[in-house]
């Protein structure tokens, strides 16, 4: 276990909810937290952002589901998961027993699915808030990626905000695969989002030169890892510049404390560490320590002072 003590005040918030660390897991990159227990103090990190949960259990896609790419990977898992019943019966109680906070990622194919999931999570112990996955690229048609359309995205967020526990902050997870991410950010914030999670994976493709066919069973997949970090950082920068009052949970290729610092300086008040966990299972705790040291070296007394500093 790693101690997360530091001289810098690392406290931050998701919406109105205080958390002790600004470094969280990323949805889809740490399952439901359980497997990280040998490597990370789950109660000390900001929160466990769960793999996206849907109403029903999902098998996910056939294999192969993964291809390594330069400084990243392409995945096509297809949202394999236990469904909301499994999450409520097993995964959330397990996290509660350990004093961990869950930021529950929810996904669906219809607006009503999202609203029902939000309602099912009202008042559930251990649930800190909701990350609304409206941007998973591994769905049957691009028309189902709500985050590519400001109107569709707003419909989902408005329904979730209305159905969700008032104490649960609702974050909209946005896709970088749009022409103008600021317009989507503005639309979902107007619809009631308490914050924004940026970014989801970028849609990508790898072809095997030997078989001369796409590597992934799902043909296309989501690109993640340090390869996408400049894209993610640009999205955070643009949205923070346009909407400085809206809290941002930044993610996309964060591997070190200095990577996380860039997101904070661009306007993120918290960050998620995703693909880096595959490389280093203790990455979430390590990034916290490195970020705290980097802030101290630069004379910041608290994380909050550094949020958006690059714009000033």
């Amino acid at each position: 276990m790693t101690a997360l003590d530091t001289a810098v005040d690392m406290r931050t918030a998701l919406g109105a909810v205080q958390i002790p660390s600004p470094v969280l897991t990323a949805s889809g990159c740490s399952a439901f937290g359980r497997e990280l227990e040998p490597f990370v103090d789950l109660a000390a990190i900001g929160a466990v952002v769960t793999k996206s949960v849907q109403l029903r259990p999902r098998s996910g896609r056939p294999t192969p589901r993964m291809a390594e790419t330069p400084s990243g990977m392409l995945n096509s898992i297809g949202l394999q998961g236990p469904g909301i019943d499994g999450l409520l019966a097993e995964d959330l109680p397990w996290l509660v027993e350990r004093g961990a906070r869950a930021f529950v990622s929810i996904a669906g194919t219809r607006v009503e699915n999202f609203a029902e999931l939000a309602a099912r999570l009202r008042g559930v112990p251990g649930v800190l808030g909701l990350e609304v996955n409206i941007s998973c690229p591994n769905v049957e048609s691009r028309g189902e990626v709500f985050a590519c359309d400001p109107v569709a995205a707003s419909d989902v967020i408005a329904a979730v905000r209305q159905a969700a526990d008032p104490a649960h902050p609702v974050y909209a997870k946005l896709s970088p695969d749009v022409t103008d991410i600021v317009s989507v950010a503005r639309a979902v914030t107007d619809a009631g989002a308490d914050g924004l999670s940026m970014i989801n994976t970028l849609l990508g493709l790898v072809i095997d030169p030997d078989t001369m066919r796409p590597v992934l069973g799902g043909v296309t997949g989501g690109l993640s890892g340090p390869a996408i970090r400049p894209v993610a950082l640009r999205c955070v920068w643009q949205v923070h510049q346009a909407l400085p009052e809206v809290p941002i949970l930044g993610m996309g290729g964060i591997r070190s404390g200095l990577d996380a610092l860039q997101f904070v300086l661009a306007g993120a008040s918290a960050v998620s560490v995703g693909t880096a966990v595959f490389n280093d299972p203790s990455a979430v705790a390590r990034v916290h320590e490195e970020l705290a040291a980097a802030l101290a070296q630069r004379g910041f007394a608290s994380l909050c002072e550094a949020v958006g500093y690059a714009h000033r």
Binding site: P38, S59, G60, I77, A276
Partner: protein
């Protein structure tokens, strides 16, 4: 499909650790490289059938995914693995020198379940998969089992761990596809000759071989346990990329992770013919739009 005769492999006794460890020794063995790592905490926790996961390329590496390799030996503070260089990551690992350091997580995965003491056992290894059977052979002999081992490969230079198996097994058979060492042909032929005397069968190697050995054992009503070599991104159970269609204790098929629910599965629980597809009766296939025919 009739009810499985195996029980799912139980979890390992100890959780894994992550350590930066030094390479204690390196030697070329045919087409492979055997690395010995000074990793006492992993060595004391390891059980036969488990694996370790390496970060490759150093701290500046653009190759992020862990490389999972079966533990070939563990004892006296040292963990041994056999690296088969085929891509950039495994080639980097194979190029490590004595004194170099590497970040390793382990031991990972579920070990081979051991039979009642004294149960005669047949062990079948394909290529470098034979390395995963050495520690198992030692445990089985120590508990009074007669051990027959079959090691096969495409050619003599692809054989692995034959000497180590000879040192511990009662009988060792070698096969090569091209006849360059031992009997010409596949491991399934000597396996069929010897399986009648076995109370349990273990195998590690390529998927086609595991299928052949698993089906051979199941047809005779003999329990078999196979260690799969699926490619994994993390090795610890968070990435969900290494799944296989596995029949669970309740008889239902799930996409199960080779890292945390395997790599050891009952040979009659792996739906080999369905690997790479999404059969309608996998739990949650209906939510993917796949319906019963």
């Amino acid at each position: 499909m009739s009810a499985p005769i195996t029980v799912p492999a139980p979890r390992a006794a100890h959780p894994p650790v992550q350590r930066v460890v030094a390479v204690r020794g390196r030697r070329s063995v045919n087409a492979y490289v055997e690395l010995s790592l000074a990793a006492p905490e992993i060595a004391e926790r390891a059980q036969p059938g488990q694996f370790v996961a390496f970060a490759v390329g150093g701290t500046l590496s653009a190759a992020l995914l862990r490389r999972s390799i079966a533990i070939a030996g563990a004892g006296d503070g040292v963990v041994t693995v056999v690296v088969a260089p085929h891509g950039p990551g495994s080639t980097w690992l194979a190029g490590l020198r004595e004194g170099d350091t590497v970040d390793v997580v382990g031991p990972l995965g579920r070990p081979f379940p051991l039979p009642e003491p004294g149960t005669p056992s047949l062990l079948v290894g394909g290529g470098y998969g034979a390395a995963a059977l050495v520690g198992l052979a030692e445990r089985l002999r120590a508990s009074g089992s007669a051990v027959t081992a079959i090691a096969g490969a495409a050619s003599a230079d692809r054989l692995c761990s034959v000497e180590e198996l000879r040192a511990v097994a009662d009988d060792v058979v070698v096969t090569t596809d091209d006849g360059s060492a031992g009997r010409r042909g596949w491991v399934s032929e000597p396996a069929a000759d010897r399986i009648g005397a076995a109370g349990v069968v273990y195998a590690c190697g390529p998927m086609g071989m595991l299928r052949a050995i698993g089906e051979l054992a199941t047809a005779r009503g003999i329990p078999s346990y196979v260690a799969v070599e699926e490619s994994m991104a993390c090795g610890i159970g968070v990435c969900m990329t290494c799944v296989l269609p596995i029949v669970g204790e309740d008889g239902r098929t799930r996409f199960s992770r080779s890292c945390t629910e395997g790599p050891v599965f009952g040979g009659d629980r792996v739906r080999f013919a369905d690997v790479g597809t999404l059969p309608w009766d996998v739990v949650g296939a209906d939510a993917m739009g796949v319906v019963a025919p």
